[in-house]
């Protein structure tokens, strides 16, 4: 289990020595984040080809009618998948996750909008192993500046990854318990915390996920005196804060508002 990812021309993640161009990757996941292309014509988000050890191709396209098409070919075998999505709100970027397992042949494709809770999924069958050369090539692709503009982030994970909902808070985030603060990374299911209503509520579960620190999971530091903070907090941009007070009431006409970090 491990990540391999590049972002915008910079080689930042810990490289995975086990991925060589020759191996065939049987169970893994590919994640990419990109701005949503125009709906009028087909646009190729990513196209990589490799001739060694076998001729192979990976192509991810956006096609009109709000669909994405994924094509993987390797030697004589070809795999093709389509996923459709409908936008409820105005959003400009999306996150596409492709999970595949070629031993059982099934896979799972999902699209999520970081600004939104919407999730579109599609089950796949007949997945084929992905040549390592394609993965390395795809990751190397984002090193060129013009590709990086259209495809800010691509990551590869060995082993399946879970789709939404994802965690967004740093290990050191203090959580108010009945008697003290405790780091969120040390919380356990069954612990109690104080909700904003002042009630003591049990924690049903603590979720943890590791992702490359870019794209919608790039960490943001909220600095202390702002938002009545006592200390700096580090979180992903998707985390929402609840914000009350007379300013919020005056400007937005409700007691509390949720704001993305």
């Amino acid at each position: 289990m491990g990540w391999l990812a590049y972002r915008g021309g910079r080689d930042t993640a810990a490289a995975h020595a086990s991925i060589t161009p020759e191996i065939m990757i049987e169970t893994a996941a590919l994640v990419l984040e990109a701005p949503l292309p125009s709906n009028r014509r087909a646009a190729t988000l990513l196209e990589v080809a490799s001739l060694h050890p076998e001729p192979s191709l990976l192509r991810i396209q956006s096609i009109p009618d709000e669909e994405f098409s994924i094509l993987i070919s390797s030697g004589a075998s070809v795999f093709h998948a389509l996923i459709s999505h409908t936008l409820q709100s105005r959003t400009d970027s999306f996150r596409l996750t492709l999970n595949w397992n070629s031993t059982s042949g099934d896979g799972f494709l999902s699209i999520k909008y970081p600004d939104d809770d919407a999730l579109f999924t599609h089950d796949l069958a007949g997945c084929i192993p992905m040549p390592g050369a394609l993965i390395l090539e795809a990751l190397a692709e984002t090193r060129s500046a013009e590709v990086a503009q259209n495809l800010p982030y691509i990551g590869f994970h060995q082993g399946p990854i879970h789709v939404a909902p994802s965690s967004t808070l740093d290990y050191h985030t203090p959580v108010l318990k009945p008697l003290c603060y405790r780091k969120i990374g040390m919380m356990k299911p069954g612990d109690t915390a104080i909700s904003t209503g002042g009630d003591i509520v049990p924690v049903l579960g603590v979720f943890k996920n590791t992702t490359p620190a870019f794209g919608s999971f790039a960490p943001v530091r909220l600095r202390a005196p702002y938002f009545v903070l006592q200390s700096d907090l580090v979180m992903a941009g998707a985390q929402r804060l609840i914000f009350g007070g007379s300013n919020a009431e005056y400007t937005f006409g409700c007691d509390e508002v949720l704001i993305p970090a």
Binding site: S110, D170, Y181, T210, A213, F227, L229
Partner: protein, 87 residues
């Protein structure tokens, strides 16, 4: 004026955490209220439930969260509000 939020320099991977409560409530971190893991009615979507990060918990045990009544601000609104608070 320094902005209220800055990008945290990071390399490699980040491990993130989040809590789940039975109601869609907020918890307090360093005097600031934060939203918990919002799962909506994901429990009912049996087709994708096993694929999500919730699959480590028993299906029957999971709550359903109703959408909170509060409105979600757009990024520029949030920036305006933060600036107003600082002023």
């Amino acid at each position: 004026m320094a902005p209220p939020a800055i990008a945290q320099p990071a390399t490699g991977t980040m491990t993130y955490f989040q809590l789940l409560f039975s109601e869609n409530e907020e918890f307090i971190a360093s005097e600031l209220c934060l939203e918990i893991l919002f799962i909506g009615r994901l429990r009912r979507r049996k087709d994708i439930f096993q694929r999500t990060s919730l699959s480590t918990l028993p299906h029957n045990f999971l709550p359903e969260h109703t959408a909170s009544a509060t409105q979600i601000l757009r990024p520029y609104e949030a920036i305006t509000l933060a600036a107003m608070r600082a002023a």
